[in-house]
């Protein structure tokens, strides 16, 4: 252990020879500390310290002992578990259909997977209310129910499952497609039936992936703020309660105590996912399959699975179509006549949040892209002291619920030395650090595919670290880089949980505007905003993809 430490200190000499590299590492670390760790520290500090600075567990115990909070905690865990299980099951069915079954509508799966990414996080809640709410199209108009109540546990479970199962699907389809078909053929050859093959080969091989999918969905469900706000009703979750406690009741101490609990759950799950299950997934499955699998055409298997997938897909697409539809009807639930009045309202009174959001998202896009690639490069290629910490912290920001980080930003940047609240800067920073992990992940994955000797060759030929990065590394991982850009823009446009703490009279954002319109029941305007948001995202992403494909860059990695 001592040898090991001494040696890694020694290896730092190699980094320290290089001033550009050293400066980059230091700056990266500072930015991670400043914009991820410090806000979290402030949340913890607030919840564990009295105003005079002495340590206390009073607020935490108070928060946990409170009967209502206990119910909130149980709600949250129960919701996460149920949504995690359901999403994993649905995701598995889709993944199995995609990887194993001959199927006509596989194109649908990509759409289903991308829709939740390009729309506001609570889009499905809105559609659900429009369908099943008090004035819901199905409940009120078709069935004539007077007091339909979609708000609460059932509504949240359905909405979250439909929103988050694509995560499980993407994790599992990757794994299933990687299984070498010769395993299954070998098993069949040894006398296993198709059912045996599934039970003894396929399922055991993806079992770590299933655990992984469950945990990823669980983390998302627990952190989900938007749906909880919109459709949660009396069923309060921790993320919502934290926000209400701090911003509604102005009980910062109580809010931070709840945030601490929320953060703990997320981090435990994240660590579990990354270090316990995450590593196992790759042990059992080796590389790319040698050849393509013969897809199943047996009707007994095909028809039921195909039906399930088709129905779910169709339903989801219908839900999304409701949003633009809802934006052009007079008064949802009462008068379904065509109108453009919601759009004229938006264009005359509410353009500012649209422009601000787009503008700030565009600003944060290149920052996120570049910073993400730099961090990926450092993590994969450089052995410096603190590398593990940089990797952990930068990926951690994916698991930290937006509510927690949002609150941390408010606490950390409200006072000196860094006063940023109410500025555009803080929103940009939030956008950058919230959407960076995905860029880092795809950067890391791309870099791992690339022979480090190529960069060494450049350095050997006289390129310094900066030159190596710009003339070799970035061109080699340009797909990941541009995917990171696209994703950053999309994610910033649709962000809500962290930035809801940071908006001000000066800078209001699109998602929060939609939310407040939903809150007062103006679904037409909310739907109009949402439609505009989706259109902006689709147009910007489409234009970028078009421009990039003109210069020969493929950004299809965005989907995964």
């Amino acid at each position: 252990m001592k040898d090991r430490f001494r040696n890694s200190v020694y290896e730092m000499k190699k980094i320290l020879r290089d001033p550009i590299l050293t400066a980059t590492i230091v700056l990266t670390m500072i930015s991670l500390v400043l914009f991820i760790l410090w806000p979290i520290y402030d949340v913890l500090k607030e919840s564990f310290l009295e105003n005079d600075g002495s340590f206390t567990l009073r607020y935490l115990i108070g928060a946990i002992k409170d009967a209502e909070n206990q119910k909130v905690l149980i709600n949250t865990l129960m919701l996460g578990t149920v949504v995690g299980i359901l999403s994993t099951i649905v995701g598995f069915i889709f993944a199995y259909a995609d990887a194993f079954i001959k199927f006509k509508f596989k194109g649908l799966f990509n759409i289903i997977a991308i829709l939740p990414i390009i729309s506001p996080p609570f889009a499905l809640s809105m559609s659900f209310i429009m369908l099943f709410g008090q004035r819901g199209f199905i409940t009120y108009k078709l069935l004539g129910l007077q007091n339909a109540n979609i708000y609460g546990f059932a509504g949240l479970v359905l909405v979250q499952t439909l929103t988050f199962f694509p995560i499980a699907y993407l994790v599992l389809v990757g794994l299933l497609k990687q299984i070498d078909p010769s395993f299954e053929e070998a098993a069949r050859n040894l006398g296993a039936s198709r059912k045996d093959v599934f039970k003894t080969i396929v399922f055991p091989l993806v079992r770590p992936g299933i655990a992984n999918a469950f945990l990823l969905v669980f983390i998302q469900s627990v952190a989900d703020f938007g749906n909880g706000m919109v459709i949660g009703g009396n069923f309060t979750t921790l993320a919502v309660k934290t926000y209400l406690q701090a911003m509604g009741n102005y009980d910062i101490k109580g809010g931070t105590a709840l945030a601490t609990v929320l953060l703990t759950i997320s981090i435990v799950m994240f660590v579990l996912q990354k270090y316990w299950v995450g590593n196992k997934s790759y042990v059992t499955v080796t590389g790319k399959p040698s050849r393509e699998r013969n897809l199943i055409e047996d009707k007994v298997i095909k028809i039921p699975i195909q039906t399930i997938c088709f129905l779910i897909s169709a339903f989801i697409i219908l839900l999304y179509i409701l949003i633009p539809y809802g934006s052009v009807v007079n008064l949802w639930g009462i008068d379904y006549g065509f109108t453009l009045k919601h759009y004229s309202y938006v264009t005359s009174l509410g353009m500012k949040p649209i422009l601000d959001t787009t503008y700030l998202s565009l600003i944060s896009m290149p920052i996120t892209g570049l910073l993400g690639m730099i961090i990926a490069f450092l993590i994969v290629r450089k052995r410096f002291i603190g590398r593990g910490a940089v990797e952990f912290v930068s990926m951690l920001s994916m698991a930290i619920p937006g509510t927690v980080i949002g609150m941390g930003y408010v606490l950390a940047y409200n006072t000196k030395p860094l006063v940023l609240t109410g500025t555009a800067t803080i929103i940009v920073i939030a956008f950058v650090f919230r959407s960076m992990p995905v860029g880092i992940r795809s950067g890391v994955a791309s870099l791992q595919q690339i022979d480090p000797a190529i960069e060494e060759a450049a350095q050997d030929l006289g390129a310094n670290s900066y030159k190596v990065f710009t003339s070799v590394t970035i061109p080699l991982i340009k797909s990941a880089f541009f995917s990171g850009l696209v994703y950053s823009f999309v994610r910033s446009m649709t962000a809500v949980s962290a930035v809801i703490f940071l908006i001000s009279a000066k800078y209001n954002l699109l998602t929060t505007s939609i939310m407040s319109q939903v809150d007062v029941g103006r679904y037409g305007i909310a739907a109009a905003y949402s439609t505009i948001l989706i259109v902006i995202v689709v147009v910007v992403v489409g234009v970028m993809k078009l421009l990039l494909s003109k210069i020969g860059i493929n950004t299809s990695e965005l989907n995964s």
Partner: protein, 354 residues
């Protein structure tokens, strides 16, 4: 070229952290002097420290202790881009996003040469390696051998003081490898740059090098010309690693200033040479140094007899010792079968004692 410089390694030690977190010594206190313009090969099995040594000279790794000199300058604290070395990588490491011309010009641009100078140099080097006309191709449009030559050109065009080769031929098929050996040697002689070549392939080492350094487990076993390495191996490891060797126990009976008498297989042999550094009292005899001869001094029983084309290979038991004999041109000779008695002699000039 007058720019060529010597390389001196002084007491180099390199420690690594292995997989289990244990410290392990990849290079254990080696010292070596590579002369200006020399072609020197680091040869050894995988994990012997040869690549680590090369990468320390290039600057990709730093020694845990010891000093590296290129010419008169101590280069330990210089990053690879500041060192006057150019490396040819095992995987070629051509830039996939640049064409052949741009690949070769990459380093020249960083040197801030003018367009005209770059153009001339790239054209000349393409001529030298015989790839003129392929400037616009992408690396993946070239064959393995062509990529190899581009990698070589990209290094040589920099006119470095030292050229470094990291197993550059290991990805080529056998025939091309033999051809490229002589190509590399030809080009190296033409430009006259000090070259350090890493390989685990002994025939590469033997055919290209002025001197060979045999490494094992982080230490240098022997430094010598290919001839010395083969015929006068310093250690049992070298004898065993280079070619095929019978390493047999013997007894040194008597030593004089210009002769050595030994006893091998209970027979006395007079060698007209004095051996320094006899440590283990073992003889090294290559299989082809035995002479199958009905009147030979020694006798054994053939255990296995295999026709190999250019020679007949015998595994022979002499008392309880098993030896390998290669008898060349078997078609002109009597061939012995399993179980037969065989008599043979030893060409005494070829016996080496360690």
């Amino acid at each position: 070229m007058s720019k060529s410089k010597p390389v001196i390694l002084k007491n180099i030690i390199k420690n690594y952290i292995g997989n289990e977190g244990k410290l392990f010594t990849a290079v254990d206190n080696i010292s070596l002097e590579i002369k200006s313009g020399e072609f020197l090969t680091l040869l050894g099995p995988s994990g012997c420290g040869k690549t680590t040594t090369l990468r320390m000279i290039a600057g990709f790794e730093i020694p845990t202790s010891g000093e590296i000199y290129i010419g008169d300058d101590m280069v330990n604290s210089l990053t690879p881009d500041k060192r006057d070395t150019a490396m040819v990588f095992q995987s070629y490491a051509l830039f996939p996003h640049l064409n052949i011309y741009e690949n070769i010009a990459y380093g020249l641009k960083l040197k801030r040469l003018t367009k005209g100078e770059i153009d001339k140099k790239v054209k000349d080097i393409l001529e030298l390696i015989g790839l003129s006309g392929l400037e616009k191709r992408a690396p993946n449009q070239l064959s393995g051998g062509q990529q190899q030559r581009v990698a070589l050109a990209r290094a040589i065009v920099m006119e470095p003081s030292v050229l470094l080769f990291d197993e550059p031929l290991s990805n080529l098929d056998a025939k091309l490898r033999v051809y490229m050996r002589s190509e590399i040697r030809r080009i190296q002689k033409e430009v006259g740059i000090t070259s350090i070549y890493v390989t685990h392939d002994q025939s590469e080492a033997m055919s290209m090098s002025d001197r060979v350094v045999v490494m094992n487990k982080g230490i240098i076993e022997q430094v010598g010309t290919p001839n010395e390495i083969y015929n006068q191996p310093a250690t049992e490891f070298v004898a065993d690693f280079i070619g095929v060797a019978n390493i047999l126990d013997c007894k040194v009976d008597e030593e004089g200033s210009d002769y050595t008498n030994i006893i091998l297989f209970d027979r006395k042999i007079n060698l007209k040479k004095k051996f320094n550094n006899i440590k283990k009292s073992k003889v090294v005899i290559r299989p082809e140094f035995f002479e199958v001869d009905e009147n030979g001094k020694f006798e054994g029983i053939v255990d296995t007899s295999v026709f190999m084309g250019e020679y007949q290979e015998y595994f022979v038991n002499v008392d309880k010792t098993r030896i390998i004999i290669k008898d060349y041109n078997p078609i002109t000779k009597r061939v012995y079968n399993t179980g037969e008695k065989i008599r043979f002699g030893i060409n005494e000039k070829c016996i080496h004692i360690i």
